[in-house]
């Protein structure tokens, strides 16, 4: 029970910031229904032209499918690596595990442009071996996305593991369960929600990744954000408004579904 609720000044300030945060998202909606070729508010008549473009223009369709494929691969690989790593850390827990965690979180903390340059170096190097795995290839982009998203998955799984009661695992061990049995039958079922959240998070992060993708693609691997970037940089293409609205709606739905599934966080009960 809070005895000191925030005063009117604080509430008004927070409200203003809240409006500031939502405004640019809401602004996209009316613009997306404009009949014109320019970024304007619709005057009088509404039109679905730009939504139709998303389905009819092969560029949009191709990049949407490519992004979905890359995000799916990235999600599976990054979540797998992260879960394995977090389980190992959880079972290991000596002093140097902190160092290891710090190391794998680096891509999250290092400025994205530095990571972009680093991955550019890696992928142009790999291109010397084969074009299929290097710069501007699906495998290359997936590889880069795994690097960039895996720290977020590690954090998610570690947080989930921190809530597991170690005594359950000790009991299983006491009854003679091997490492594999303990992981499959005891630990994984307990962190299922955390692992699923990690997979979803990685999917979303990869799906919208642009900072690094810009550096490592040119003409072959045009992901959806890359195509949006091209539509924004030169002259603004209103089809970007349509895809933005679709993305906002889908993201909001996923978030709401996740909120509904999640057990309420503990601070709620305070």
């Amino acid at each position: 029970m809070r005895l000191q609720r925030p005063g009117p000044v604080a509430v008004v300030l927070a409200l203003l910031v809240g409006v500031f945060l939502l405004l640019p998202l809401l602004a996209v909606v009316p613009i997306s229904f404009t009949p014109g070729r320019l970024l304007t508010l619709p005057k009088g008549s509404l039109s679905l032209t730009h939504y139709r473009t998303l389905f009819e223009n092969p560029d949009w369709l191709t990049s949407i499918l490519l992004s979905a494929r890359i995000a799916l691969f990235t999600s599976v690989i990054a979540t797998g690596l992260a879960t394995s790593f977090a389980l190992g850390i959880w079972m290991l827990q000596p002093r140097f595990s902190q160092l290891l965690v710090g190391f794998v979180l680096l891509p999250m903390i290092v400025p994205p442009v530095v990571s972009a340059m680093t991955l550019y170096f890696l992928l142009t190097g790999m291109s010397q071996v084969s074009h299929a795995i290097g710069f501007d290839s699906v495998i290359g982009v997936t590889l880069a996305h795994v690097v960039m998203t895996v720290p977020f998955a590690v954090v998610m799984v570690l947080v989930a593991l921190a809530q597991v009661d170690r005594r359950i695992d000790l009991a299983a061990r006491g009854m003679g369960a091997g490492v594999v049995q303990r992981i499959v039958h005891v630990i994984l079922p307990n962190i299922g929600f955390g692992v699923a959240t990690a997979a979803l998070l990685v999917f979303v992060l990869s799906w919208e990744e642009i900072g690094v993708t810009l550096f490592i693609t040119s003409v072959d691997a045009i992901t959806l954000p890359r195509l949006m970037w091209m539509g924004l940089r030169d002259n603004v293409d209103p089809a970007v408004a349509a895809i933005s609205v679709v993305l906002i709606v889908v993201t909001t739905l996923i978030l709401l579904a996740r909120m509904a599934l999640q057990r309420r966080p503990d601070f709620e009960e305070e």
Binding site: V17, L81, G88, I89, P111, A116, F152, F215, W229
Partner: protein
């Protein structure tokens, strides 16, 4: 008990990711560092440019100025929303959660586009102002520094909320009650009691936001429209428009050193879980 028996399997579980990142991230970074002293010719020429080339210097100065302002504004805004999020009624908390977390999950590009939709010449603000007859010609609200700052603040507020929230949650309610019992006004309680107690969170949020703002690329590039170029965009331009890989690499190394120093500060000042930023 077989305490040792778990060691080897645990190591085997940990190894794949560590090895993967060692090969796909740590080694290539060393390659970039190598570029910075070998391209276009061996030597520390690129680092000399960092501190002497007027263009590079002006971009660094602009980046620091923008990041400083962005950090100040973002942390202040985040403080207000977090205060109400942590201490407000259930309804207030829900509303704030939506305001913070929905934009948080939406891509940088979509959000930058949102600002364009709002502020561009034919955008919503200009259309409304013209319809109301307040202005004749559209105002140039975008492709300038203030719009870059607005866009970056928009992205960074949620990153400041999490460290602030963890600091505010640890404040003991009874201390505030005691202050009130002694007759302190609301403002006095806030400034003399509550705010100082959350200072570690403020420092943590400030450093995190500043570090994140330094590497920003997409938002400034779109909202700045190539006019107020920041460090990250300079790297991009040097990589792809005027092949100048050595300079790009040197800037990258400088950024990493800077960020490492700031993170060191963070570790000293606030022992808060940066990792809890769990986006």
């Amino acid at each position: 008990m077989r305490p040792r028996s778990a060691f080897r399997p645990a190591l085997a579980l940990t190894a794949p990711l560590v090895l993967f990142l060692a090969f796909a991230y740590a080694l290539p970074f060393l390659g970039v560092a190598l570029w910075s002293v070998t391209l276009p010719e061996p030597g520390v020429g690129q680092y000399e440019r960092l501190v002497s080339d007027p263009l590079v210097l002006s971009v660094f100065l602009r980046t620091f100025r923008i990041c400083f302002l962005v950090t100040l504004i973002a942390v202040a805004c985040a403080y207000a929303v977090t205060y109400v999020w942590v201490r407000g009624t259930r309804l207030q908390r829900r509303l704030i959660e939506i305001c913070i977390f929905v934009p948080f999950w939406i891509s940088l590009l979509t959000r930058a586009f949102g600002w364009l939709a709002l502020l561009s010449n034919r955008g919503i603000v200009n259309s409304w102002l013209q319809a109301l007859g307040l202005i004749d010609a559209p105002l140039a609200l975008v492709r300038n520094e203030p719009s870059v700052i607005a866009g970056m603040v928009h992205v960074l507020i949620p990153f400041a909320v999490l460290p602030l929230a963890s600091a505010m949650r640890t404040v003991d309610e009874r201390v505030l009650l005691a202050a009130r019992g002694m007759g302190a006004s609301r403002l006095r309680i806030f400034w003399s009691v509550f705010f100082p107690m959350t200072l570690p969170g403020v420092i943590g949020a400030t450093l995190i936001v500043f570090v994140f703002s330094l590497g920003f690329f997409v938002t400034p590039a779109i909202l700045g429209g190539g006019r107020s170029i920041m460090v990250a965009e300079l790297v991009y331009l040097r990589m792809f428009q005027s092949p100048d890989w050595g300079l790009g690499a040197a800037i990258s190394v400088a950024l990493v050193v800077l960020v490492a120093a700031l993170m060191g500060l963070l570790a000293r000042f606030a022992r808060l879980g940066l990792m809890g930023s769990g986006r």
